[in-house]
Symmetry: C2
Subunit: 91 residues, 2 copies
């Protein structure tokens, strides 16, 4: 059992990430963190909602955090928003 | 003072929504809820982050909720993710 299972959501179809989340719980994870930055944030929320509503039993949202990260681009440093949605077994 | 000030984030430039949030607090709101659905969710997170980091003093995140809403489309009902980010005066 590990507490730091993380799924990074990017530009692939949302079901790829849903499957990754479901797989981590199937493999015995206590918690799974879904993380995304920028435009992928919407897909991270979709991932959590679809996983919870259609695939996972006895799992709930533990915490949702948003933050601002500074990334390096060709035009210099830029701020980008990020989200972390932590799912866990219902206690 | 009202507790149900809401800014609905859509497809306009993010600063429009940041200004709306800042204005509501300037007008005496205790809390402001930032809501969005679908792809606009990323922009809602940007709105909250920019408002908090660049414009608002003494305001903090109170709560972030995500949910799934059913909307009617030409092709029948469809599920869409939504987010609500509530900002409030730091206590």
């Amino acid at each position: 059992m590990s507490n730091d299972n993380t799924v990074y959501v990017g530009n692939k179809p949302v079901m790829n990430y849903v499957l990754a989340v479901v797989t981590q719980f199937s493999n015995g994870a206590d918690e799974v963190a879904i993380k995304a930055r920028g435009k992928a944030i919407s897909r991270a929320v979709d991932t959590a909602e679809i996983a919870l509503n259609r695939f996972l039993q006895g799992i709930t949202k533990k915490e949702i955090r948003t933050s601002t990260e500074e990334i390096e681009t060709d035009g210099g440093p830029m701020n980008v928003s990020s989200i972390e949605i932590v799912l866990m077994h219902r206690v």
